[in-house]
Symmetry: C2
Subunit: 205 residues, 2 copies
């Protein structure tokens, strides 16, 4: 197989991305060599370098394939439609993200790589900034939703939407980390729905 058609080349490219994800997961991003990725994809380094200029670019593509759609989905779930029940909407957003993890192994693996199999230095610290920016967006939207919940007297006591939003974001950030790290026992993953429910319930009037 010396020269593939355009279609086949695209398949090869995707196989390389999938192989990279697999090896990143096993050996960590830094320890992974292009040779290992090539071997896992059943090609040589020549092919990998043909499709991607280096490991960093390959990493970025792998990440974006999963995260860009995921972020879109999260944005949708947080959209300010005229919802009767903002608190329920927040809950649905949290559950939706967990559901995305449950449904797609690729998403799960990518999350795991991003969280505990990647060192955010040099070129990669840029990625960290993007992530933080994204967090800011989510926090803002949460705050708006909490504000609307407050306007509708859904909240108990006199709670500040801004602090509620941050509290929820931190909770969820911690939740995702735990969810990802809890690979074998998985006794944690079964509790997530209840946890999210009680987290929201704590706020409800």
């Amino acid at each position: 197989m010396v020269r593939q058609t355009k279609e086949n080349a695209e398949l090869t490219r995707q196989r390389i991305i999938d192989a990279a994800r697999q090896v990143f997961l096993e050996r960590g991003v830094s320890r992974t060599s292009m040779e290992q990725i090539a071997a896992a994809a059943g090609v040589t380094r020549g092919a990998v370098y043909w499709h991607f200029s280096n490991k960093t670019e390959l990493f970025s593509v792998m990440r974006e394939q999963v995260f860009l759609p995921l972020i879109d989905r999260m944005d949708d779930n947080l959209q300010l439609e005229n919802n009767e029940d903002p608190l329920a909407q927040i809950e649905a957003f949290l559950n939706g993200t967990i559901q995305a993890l449950n449904e797609s192994q690729t998403t799960r693996e990518t999350y795991e790589i991003m969280m505990i199999k990647c060192e955010y230095v040099e070129e990669f610290s840029e990625v960290l900034k993007q992530i933080l920016n994204n967090c800011d967006g989510i926090i803002q939207k949460l705050e708006q939703l909490y504000q609307r919940a407050k306007n509708k007297s859904q909240l108990s006591g006199s709670q500040d939407p801004s602090e509620l939003a941050l509290d929820t974001h931190l909770f969820f950030s911690g939740l995702l980390h735990m969810w990802v790290k809890d690979t074998d026992s998985s006794h944690f993953r079964k509790r997530t729905n209840a946890l999210i429910a009680s987290h929201i319930n704590l706020r409800r009037n």
Copy 2:
């Protein structure tokens, strides 16, 4: 300087550990070579290999120097003394840990390395297990404290101590991550106390 006294050797050892922390922070654990550590410590690789058998051991020592005392301190803060105000005790525990970060640059740096400059694969996945075990311990103690808070009718509504404990742990885990990642702007760090206060307040009767 070919042969130092025992005392000086101990100083050299510590200098190597400090140098390792510094280079780990800059380049990430994986990308850091023994040569770079040696250079940063002002010695040669010979000295580094004399004191530590390899990078993994050096990493472990660096980590334990900071974490073992920190864990002890956290355990102390969570101890079940006959406290009148369990909720305040939890709040003090959270604030205390943040304070430890504020007070010690070494602790801060080590946390940052552990969180975003280290890949938890192969030998390092053992470390991850230890961390998770520790979390379990903290969660259990939080649960006991929440139980006592409930017995004293400190809690509003009918909240489950077990879920409150997990919620607090996830919140705090997320908080630590944010705290560490928020290196430059530091606008987040100033809000931590207020955030912790409102997190606890949400539970209070």
